[in-house]
Structures are given as structure tokens and as C-alpha cells.
Amino acid sequence: MLILKSLSRGKRHGYAIAEWIHDVSEEALRVEEGALYPALHRLELRGMLDPEWGLSETNRRVKFYRLTPAGRKCLAAEREHWGRLSAGVMRILESA
């Protein structure tokens, strides 16, 4: 979900995604590379992401990822699900 969110404003490459999550969460969350790349590939296989190859300033091949409509739909669904879940958890925690 976080990966999908990170791509909701346009294409990014792997490192950028990890950095974005790290920054936006104010350094609370860090996605390990060991989990990031398999997750990216899995999403790609499931048709949530569209890959696009480009070149970096250092003349390296860079793989950018972009959300597909399916990915967007999935993000919305996940977001709602998470919202309900976290709200529920909060309510339980605050009930005492």
C-alpha cells in the first residue's frame, strides 16, 4: 500500500520510493531493499504497476514504476481497509 501510495503522484524508481517513504514517515518507516524489490516485482506481475526504463544522469539504465488503473483501484480499496482497521484499533486502545 505504501508503495502504491508513493507512486500516486507519478513514476518513481526503487530508490526514490524507499527514500520517499522514509522521508514522509519522518524517518519512522524504512523499507528494506530485501523486501522492497520482491514487493515491486510482485505488484508488477499482478498488474498494479507498469515498468518503464529510462536513463539516469550517470548514464545507467533506470527502472521507473508507474501506477496502472488497477493499481489505483487497489490503493483506494487498501486505504479504506486500512482506515477502518486503524480506526478500530485506536478505538480499542482509547476505550480504557
Binding site: H13, T58, R61
Partner: protein
Amino acid sequence: MIRSFRLRVRALLKRRQLERDLEDELAYHLELRRANAPAQAPFGNVTSIQETCRELWTFSRLEDSWRQVCQAARVLRRSPGHTIAIVALLALGIGANAAMFSLVNAFFIRELPVREPNRLVALNPGWPTQLFDDFRRAQKSFSGVLGTGSLLGTVVTAETGEQLAGARGGIASGNYFDVLGVKASIGRVFTEEDDKLSHPQPVMVIGHSFWSRQFAGDPSVLGRKIFLSGSPFTIIGVTPEGFAGDLPGRGRDFWVPLNMQPVANPQGDLRRNPGFPWLSVMGRLAPGVSIEQAEAEVVYDRLRARQTVERRNRPSPIHLESASRGFDGFRRRLGTQIQILAATAVIVLLIVWVNVATLLLARGAARQRELAVRQALGCGRARLVRSLLLEGLLLAGAGGSIGLAVAPACARALLLMQPSFGRIDVDLAFDLRMFAFGVGISLLTAIAFSLLPAIRASSTAIEPALRSSSRSSTGPPSRQKTLRFLVAAQTALSVILVAVSFFFARSLFHLHAVDGGYDRQHIVSATINARLAGYQDDAAQWRLGQRLVERISAVPGVTSASVALCAVLMGCSRQSLVTMEGHEADSSDSRIWINPVSANYFETTGIPVVMGRGFGAQDRPGSPRVAVVTQALARFYFPGQDAVGKRFTERSAQGIPGDPIEIIGVIRDIKFVNPRDAPIRMAFLSLEQFPGPFSYLQVRTDGRPEALVSAVRQAILEVDSKLFVMGPEPLSATLEQILARDMLLSRASGLFGLVALVLACFGVYGVISYLVVARTAEFAIRLAIGAKPAQVLGHIVANALKTAIPGIVGGVAGAWAAGRFIESLLFGVTGHDPFIFMAVAAALLFTTILAAYVPALRASRIDPLVALRCD
């Protein structure tokens, strides 16, 4: 799902590209990271990430399995002798079973290739023509009712004049093809129009296989003629391929309309014989009618229909049976045999399993180190078992394919072992069911024989296996125990098969040895139909008989000849009600067989007259009417008395007694048709006094009867070239046909028994060789410290016997049970004949010793120096 599959397939095709992409992607990440935050924790294991990602993109499981298959194939290729032996064994076992299954499939499972076969119902037993006609009109439960019968005794001639001896014709009501829903592949089938009682058409529909056989599939066959009993029938159509009639096992070559029967068949108009139930009747249930409803109605209809028909016979109760697989006459006749042979084939398969398991286990010992090394290198136990199972699957697959490929030929060969049925037409074509059976049995086989070695191999402790040298270890004692158990099991199964084959062989021997009461060695017999050639009245037929006897007696090599209405081994068609002297009042069974014969019948057939006299010159028309009877008849009616001089009268169909006939002689008991029969109660009359039809000609010779066959046929045709003659044939050949079932069982079970014996030998040999090799060092030491070679030899053979004897004992118990099962088929031998059990036990003991002797001899010749230095 589909998208991911497509992507993966693309990745599979561009494996390089995938690798490069992964590499590049991660490399860039690394580069950025090094530039931005060099102080942070190291990246982690790049290779591992790559691997995880790669796995996502590939069919990892599948590819892994494929690799394992390749590996298994490599293992098998490495020891070709071993592999070939196992595949051959499996092909044998699976082939035998697939062959039996193809028979079971053809006879018991496969449905007729007609429209909606499951709506067809057979109305058993047979029906007379008139009753069938009346019933057909009256009934309401069926959308159609067809009647069909065989054209027996009809001479079939092609346009060229060539006799088509093997052609099998059928008679069928006009709606036959319509009710079955069979359309012609070329031309047309006949209909009710062709079968009008007032003017039936001489048309004929021929079967597809007959068409290809006789006419080479020539489409111009339509309009050509085939002659039945001399009358032309026009071919109007050919059935579709695969349709061979309504009786599995006996295909029909052609069909003619029911009402053409009097023309086609020499038996005369069967319609005039209202009590003769010769038609097989099948109906197609009307929509919505169940078989039970139909049965209730049929019983009622038949009762009502019968009131309009004069019948002398007792009404036989009718019962309905599903006919989706056709009439079951043949199924009933062959059923028991196929069951027994199928059971035998299953036992052969069991033996093969045990044998293969033994081989694999013994080999497993040799592979112990390999497996231990693999395990030590981190190969999981599950994976190890899987790879062993895969090897089994490959072996079973190879064996199964070969077995399936040869199965139809085997099944056909098996049927050929049974000569009497002549041609058995079964559709042994390969179908889905066969395929499923083959795959199923191969899978089962793979699991059955490779599971045990697989479990055993995978539970081996790694360390001792690696440490021990491969030569001097016999494996854990439990392995030896398992091997011994397998050998014993195999021996036991073999005992059962060998015993069964002994039973049938002995039974067949007894059947051949039965003294039928007549001479079997020196007689040829021919079937002659005089009426067909125009001899209508009794006197004319008898004059023909006399001329035949005279002419044939003049043939060189013939010592005497006679004609008779009934002939031994062929059967009798005349049974009469008689009143015996002294039995006028009682109601004891008064049916006896009557056989009018020419005067020298007893000399010709070699049946000795034990009391009184045979027919002589004094028994002429006008002299007192006389008869010769069998001992069985004399015993039955005149127990303890002299039958000679007693009188009896033959009652006519209306019950009016005829003139008294005096018994002048008693002949030995004869078994008229089957050696299993009880001695027949028969009275012989002289054709001289009772002129009438005859059906058979017997010829006696001093020499070999086979030598006379063509000369006799020639002589018969010289008397009248229009005569329809079947044969002649030596009686011994006729007997073979009567004993065909016993012969089939004896030959087939003999074959299976032999296979079992060879397999048992093979198994013992394999295991003993393995043990000898494993214990080489031990034997070398024994020899070195003074054991004599003979002692070592004896030790090993005794060892083998110790293994086999429990198996033999268990097998004898199994054979005892099997004997019970087949007892009803045996003749002259009981199902628990101790002689047979002893013979089988002796055979197996001998086999075991033989099989153990070779490796034992090898062990006794070990050179201690060479053997011990090796380690």
C-alpha cells in the same frame, strides 16, 4: 492471473534480459545509496534479493520438477541393464493387465455404438417368430422392438461361386436398424418396407468389417449379390465402421430381413414352428418408461399374446435386462474365463511389483552412499523421496507405454488360443478408458514399488552410510529382512499361479483321457444337408444315405462308413417321449434321444455292443422293429434286469403311441457331446426300418484320419455335387473345439504360470546374488580359515531355501483357496488335490535351488586372497 502467466512466459523466453534488468535495477539503487548516505547500514545481500525476485518471475516449482525429472532420467541412464530389466518387467506386468482389461472393456464395459444405448433393453430369453410379431403389435412400453437371430447352417456363396465359410449372417426384423439408430455408411439399411410378410425383399446389409475384408471397401459393392442357400440377396448398404451387431464378441457380417428367413435358412420356415424360441428380442424404452414398468407390461402382453398362439412348450418366464452393451450370450460364455484370467494377470502384476521392489531395494543398497552424500549436501528428505518416486514414475511410465502398446496384440493372441469360437470379433480399439486404465495402473505401479525403497533410503542415517565401505556392507539387518520377505511373497504368489495352471492342465488331460465310449482316433465325420440339395421325403434321403455309404466305403483306406441323424461330439436333434415296457403307468422321465443310423454304425464308430446284438441284415423293412440302447438307458429303465427283449413305443407329438419297438442290444455308455456329460440315454434305430433324414456321415479308417479328409469330401461330391457338405473333419479335431474353453484356460494359465516361475527364479537369483556380493568378505574369510567350497555353497542354497519355504507354504494356502474358486471348471481333479500341491511345491523348491545355485557357486569359488585384499 493470466497476465502474470503471460509475463512469466515472456520472462522464460527472455531469461537473459530478465537477469540483466534485475542486475541493473539493483545496481542503480546501490549507486544512489552510496552517493546519498554512505554511512548507512550496508545494502544487504544483493544476490539473495536478486534470487527472490527471479523466483517471482519464473515457474520455479515446475522448472525445479523438470530438473528433477532430468536428474532421475540421468540416474536411470547410468545403469542401463538395471533399467531395461525393470522396464521389461513392468511392460510384462502392465501389458498382461492391459490386455485383460481390453477384453473386459470390450465385453463388459463398452456400450454398443448406437443411439442412446442405455435405453435399450433385452427381453430374455428367446422368442418364437409368431409370438414376437404379436407382441410387437400389442406392446406400448417401447418405442420400438426388434427381433434378431442367427442364420445357422446357411451356405453363403459369393457371386463367383466361392463359398464364404466363415461369414456370419443375421436375420433381423425390418425395424432393426431403425430401433438401434444405426444408419448406413453407404447405401441404405433395410426398413419395414423390405420386411413385409406378404412380399419381403431379398436384400442384405453388410457389416463394415466384412465389407473391407471381402470387398476391400469397394463402394461399387451396392447392387452386387450374395447367395444364401442358393438364393440371391442384393447388397443395399454397409453399416458404419465399428458397428458389428448386437452381440459383443460375435460380430455379424450381414443382415437379411426377418421374413426372408425361410429363403435364407435351410431350417425351413421357423414361423411354422410356433414353439421354437429362436429370436433374440431387444426393445428401446419409450420416453418416460422405466425398465421395471416395461417388465410388468411385457409379462402381461406376452401372456395375452400367447393366447392367440398355439404353444406346446411351457411358457418361460420373461425378464428384462439392460442391453446397452448388447445381448449378453457371449459375455456369459466367456465371463468366467475372462474373470479368472484377469485375476491371474493381477497376480502377475503383483509379482512384478514385488520383483521390481526387490531389484530397487537391492540397488538402493548400492546407492546408499550417493543418497547419503546428497542428503549431507542439504538435499531435503522430502526432495529425496520425491526424486526416488520420480525415478519410479519414469520407469513405470516407460513400462506402461510399452505394455499398452502391445496389449491389443496380446489380447488377440489370447483369444486365438480358443479355437472353437472361430473368429471372435471384439473391438479392442484403444479408447479413453484403456488410456485411463494404463495411466492409472502405471501410477499405482510406480507408487507400489518405489515407495518402500524411497522411505527406506531417505531414513538412512547419513554418517554410517558414508563411513562404511560399499563392498562389505549388507545394509542394515532390516533391509535383509525386507528382501527376504519380498522373495517369500513373490514365491507365494508364484505358487498360486503355477498351481492354477497345474489344475487346468490336469483337468484338460483328464478331459482328453475320458473314454467317450467310441473310437476317437480313427474317424472322420462330415455334416451333410440333403434337404437343401432337393431330397425332400424320407425315402429319398435314405436312398441318398445308402449311396453315400456304398461310395465312401470304396474309397481306399476306408474300412467302413455309416450315416446317422445324430453324431458324437456334434449333438442330437431328436428327442422323443417314449413308453417303456413296465413303465406304462409311472410318470418317470420318458424323454430319450433317438438316433436313426445305418446298419454298420457301431462298427464304424467303434462303440462295442455289450449285450445282445447290433443291427444286422435281418433287420429289414417289414421285419420286427428293433432298437439298440445305451447302457445308461438300460440302467435307468430296467435296473438289475436284462434290457434285451424289452419293448417300448415312441409317442408322436400328439401323444399317440406308435408300434412297439424291441430292444435287441445294449451298447457301452457313451458321452455323446462333452466329456463332462453324463452318459446319454439314447436309443438307436435302423434307418433301414425307419427311413428318414440323416445329418452326419462317419468314416472309419485304419490309418491317420487326416489323410482321408479330401478323398472323402471328393467322394461325397461325386455322389451328388449339389450336396452342401461341412467338413469332413477328424473327431479328434472336433473334440478340440468342444474343449476349447478348457484349452484356453489351460494354455493361458500355463503361460502365466511359466511367467510367474521365471519371475520367481529371477527374484531369488537377484536377491541371492546381492547378498553374496555384499558378504564377499565374509565368505572369503570362511574359505581362508578352512571352510570347504561345498560348505559355502550349501550354506547359501540353504539360506535361499529358508527364505523361500515360508513363501511356498503361504502360497499353497493361497492356491488351496484359488482351487476352491475354480473347482467348478475342473474335470477329474478336485480343487485341493494334494498331488498338485506337492508338484507345485517341488517345482518352486527346484526353481529356488536353481536360482540360488549360480551365485552360490560364484561365492564358493572366491579366492580369499583377491577378495580380502580389495578392501
